[in-house]
Amino acid sequence: MSDGLTMLFGLFVLLGAVGAAAALTWFERRLLGIWQDRYGPNRLGPFGSGQVLADMLKLLTKHDWVPPFADKLVFIFAPTAIVVAMLLGFAVVPFSSSLYIIDLNIGLLFFLGMTSLAVYSVLLGGLASNNKYALLGGLRSAAQMVSYEVFMGLSLIGVVMLTGSFSMRDIVEAQRDGWYCISQFLGLCVFIVAGIAESHRLPFDLPEAEHELTAGFHTEYGGMKFAMFMLGEYLGLMLICCMIVTLFFGGWLGPILPAVVWFVIKVFVLICFFILLRAAIPRPRYDQLMSLGWKYMLPLTLINLVVTGAVALSLAEV
């Protein structure tokens, strides 16, 4: 693609991602409604989809209040960090063999870097609020993110080993003979769990945990600043789904239908799966979350790493 077209496509992805994140808020509530045997928002517009507009109007017109005891600049800066980092992460997602913003030879690392920068939003939000619930939420998220980041990265090394590249396009192309969700099944499981923890969604939303911490790190936030946190969370969910599809489910590869359509279908199915997880699994206790990570996830990834390495080495020698 030429520079101008890439720029235009980048703009399209930015707007598309934000729009899709807004639509997801309604879609998630409807799906949860179905699974929990109730209606969900169904009043405004077709199937209640006007709820998105109503919510937006409400959030935009709310008083944009900064608590007097908060650290003002950091308080305002915090919610923007997660949105910016997550949107930047979309830059390395390949939507088809020719439709992408940039094909870095460190694509995967770029994605990991952006997700690790998104942590600051929650951390600084909790710190700047100067409120004990927010601080506890921020502390929890720091520990959770740092631990789950470790095996989030490690679980992907198997994929990198089999492909021999960090470039997202190479990874998809290498899956023509078989998706990595089969050969890297352990890696996939760990990456999904770590992905939920990184985007701090239920069941791993302990930084928020409304039954014990009121609203965790965003207790003091309201109006558009709160909306930014929500936007960041949904962007994170979509980004993680895009990554899982690219890394483990063959990205845009698929028969008959155009490549982009396949990609969108796969991402959509995964998002539904993530929402189902939210409806099905209760939130673990904080120490359970940490011990799950270090006692089960880390050894699993290391086993996966050693086995994949051995197999890749023996195949390479033949």
């Binding site: 650290d71 950091v74 800066f77 870095l104 030879n105 460190i106 690392l109 770029f110 990991l112 870097g113 690790s116 920068l117 942590v119 600051y120 951390l123 600084l124 909790g126 710190l127 700047a128 601080l135 921020g138 502390l139 720091a142 520990a143 993110m145 740092v146 980041e149 990265g153 021999g164 590249s165 960090f166």
Partner: protein, 170 residues
């Protein structure tokens, strides 16, 4: 174009580092330090070392600095800490470090003026970095891994004592 980007990133790195040193609020200082690390990552990227840039973001800005913020949150210093920090940041305590840094600066400028330090500007791919690390520099990698293992065992030992004691109390 590259040069302009480089000088912008370099300026941000310097300014952010100076601000990180002079802030009396620990949280603000940390944020500036993170910005400075990000600027250094941009510089690495521009000089043709994307792998180093990515690691700078993932490891330094994304993991180590998070732990720093974590500690700041645990301590939760607030106003009192800021006042104490202000006392420590008296001009006369800057004198000796500034003098030492000045000597280093003079040395560096002379080196830059005398030696030809043009970078090749050729991109180094992650694969090449890996081959170098596990080829000629494998000893350094092994030593680093031993150091990390020692740290891990030490941390486990300290943490274990804590767990045993808390169980004893129950």
């Amino acid at each position: 174009m590259m040069e302009v980007l480089f000088y912008i990133a370099a300026f941000i790195a310097l300014a952010a580092t100076v601000l990180a040193l002079t802030r009396s609020n620990a949280a603000h200082a940390l944020i500036f330090l993170i910005v400075s690390l990000l600027a250094v990552a941009v510089i690495f990227f521009l000089l043709g070392a994307p792998f180093a840039a990515a690691l700078e973001i993932v490891i330094y800005a994304g993991a180590i600095m998070v732990l720093f913020v974590f500690v700041i949150m645990m301590l939760n210093l607030g106003e009192a800490g800021e006042q104490r920090e202000k006392q420590w940041l008296q001009p006369r305590s800057w004198l000796l470090p500034a003098l030492l840094a000045l000597i280093l600066l003079v040395e560096m400028v002379t080196i830059l003026a005398t030696i030809d330090t043009q970078t090749s500007g050729i991109g180094v791919s992650p694969k090449e970095v890996g081959l170098q690390l596990f080829g000629p520099y494998v000893l350094a990698v092994e030593i680093a891994s031993m150091l990390l293992l020692a740290a891990l065992v030490g941390a486990y030992h300290l943490g274990r004592g804590f767990i045993d004691r808390s169980k004893g109390k129950r």
